[in-house]
Structures are given as C-alpha cells and as structure tokens.
C-alpha cells in the first residue's frame, strides 16, 4: 500500500520545486518559557500547558516531563496516529493499541545523542482473521512514521498482535 501523492510537483513560493514552502508544507509552533531553576513551561496555542524540566539523569528535578521523554514520545505517538490512518484505509477494527517506547541516549564524541529507539507496539483484535491486517498496518505505520523518519537514530519495532 502506498500513500497517494496528490501533487507530484508541488508549487512553491519562489518556483523551486521542493525547496521553499509548498502546499504540502505545514508548520508547528511551540514556545518554551523558563520559570525557575531547571524548570520551564511548554506552551502551544489551544493546548494545555505542560511543565517541563531537565531530567533527573542530568541534575534536574524528579517528576517533571523532560525533552528526552518528549523526543521518545513523539516517535510513539506518530507510530500510533500512522497506524490509525492505515487501519482506516484498510477498513478494519481493533480493540486496543499500546506502545511502550524506550530511547537510548549515548555519549558520543560530540556529547550525548539518541542512538536507538525501541517501540514495542501491541494491537488487540477480536478475531484471528484480523491478525494479518493488524500486522500489516503495524509494519506500514513503522515505515511511514514521519517522526522516526526525521530522526538520525535507528528505530527498532517489536510488533505484537493479541486476539481477545
């Protein structure tokens, strides 16, 4: 299954294909605002404010969401939304979907970098006949996940389908 490409040659503002902003470009705006110590607020228009901080692994406080958490989360959430898109295209129903993700931050020459993300996804379906479709949707979601495709690190997928 392929994602249909509606426009092979998107128009751009300056006439160069694929260089400047095109019809296929979307922008995402976020703001961070420092409050105290190693803590700040994440602000996105129309969404609840999230308190954020340096993680305890790097001398930050306990119990506050860190950028490292959000980096790994962005991959997991993208896998989920891409999975949902494919299940709609393939027209099948499922009962549940969960992902457990773990990112590994490794010390390289130029400081720390994420070198691996493991995404362990589990889909629950009602009958055995749906197993291949669920498996296929998981594979496609992994392949077309735009967030992991925007990361340098390798993503390892562990896909599980449970009949219940």
């Amino acid at each position: 299954m392929e994602i249909p490409i509606r426009k092979l040659f998107p128009r751009t503002q300056n006439g160069f294909v694929g260089v400047a902003l095109s019809e296929d470009t979307q922008t995402y705006n976020v703001r961070v605002d420092w409050t105290r110590d190693r803590v700040g607020k994440l602000l996105i228009d129309g969404k609840p404010t999230v308190e954020v901080a340096t993680p305890p692994e790097f001398s930050g406080p306990e119990g506050i969401i860190s950028p490292e958490d959000l980096f790994v989360a962005s991959a997991a959430v993208c896998l989920m939304t891409t999975f949902v898109t494919f299940t709609k295209k393939m027209r099948f129903e499922y009962k549940g979907f969960t992902v457990n993700g773990t990112g590994t931050l490794q010390k390289l020459e130029k400081g720390y970098q994420f070198t691996k993300i493991v995404l362990n996804a589990t889909v629950t379906v009602e009958s055995e006949e749906l197993r291949p479709k669920a498996q296929r949707a998981l594979e496609l979601a992994g392949k077309y996940c735009l967030v992991t495709n925007s990361m340098k690190c390798e993503t390892e997928h562990i896909n599980n389908v449970v009949v219940e």
Binding site: V32, P67, T81
Partner: protein, 156 residues
Amino acid sequence: MIRFAQAYVVQQMSDDDRYFPISLQWTGRKTGLLSVEGKDVIRTGVPLDDQDEASGYTPEDLFVASAAICYMNGFIEFTRKMHIEFKSFDCDAVGNLERVGRSFEITQIEMTARVTIESDEVRGKIERALELAAKYCFVGNSMKCPITHRVEISVT
C-alpha cells in the same frame, strides 16, 4: 495498567547510557494518553473533526517541543557552568513538515530565543552560553533536520 519498557533494552548497557521509557495508550480515533513514570500524563491527538481532539498534543508538536526544551536546558546548564545570571528566557520554535519522497519529514526547525539580563556586562557570556546550548543540544543533534537559532538579548 501501564507497563514500562525497560525490560527491552538490557543489551549493551553502559554506565554512560541513559534510558527514557514512555508508554502510550490509545483512547480512540487518533487520541492517546502518554505516560512517563512518576510524571503528569499528557493527552495526545491529531484532530479529525472534533474540537476536543484539537487540544491534544500531536507527534509534530512533541518533536519540535523536545528540541526547544532541550535548547533551554542546555542554556541553563551552561549559564551555571559559567556562573552567570539571567532574568528571563523564552524560546519560540517553528518546525516545517514537508513531503520528502513518498512520506513526510520535519525538514527544518527555526528557533528564536529571547533572554533578558540585568547589565550589558554579561551579554557576551550569555551569547556564548546560547551558542554552546545550540551546539550540544542532545535532542537537536539526534534529528536529521537543520536547526537555526536567532537570539535576542535585552537589558532590563
């Protein structure tokens, strides 16, 4: 019940490695609940036609946010190492999502950081802390796309 994924990363452990486990539970349509142990749960979602779903965090929001927050954390870290003070810091980040081949990718993130300081004497050091924060941003360095940094320092 939320199960965490530490168990899957036991191979090749080193003292320097740090692990960040998260858990995501689907809650219907394109929405979910994102959990990190001991931290506040974040509602995620991509809006279809429901206004309520528009208030969830999208994967792109989380991706761009992770780079901006990491930049802030780096800045704080370097100001501490350099023993300098600042009065306020905020940063706007804009991520561009573009078609690349058959799929999409975040192709650029533009950051604008604003720092206020008490006197002009620390301006040079603040600039240096911002440069180092950009250079050593763990999260930014884990992304394929270029990240630009504009800086506005004002004395108040």
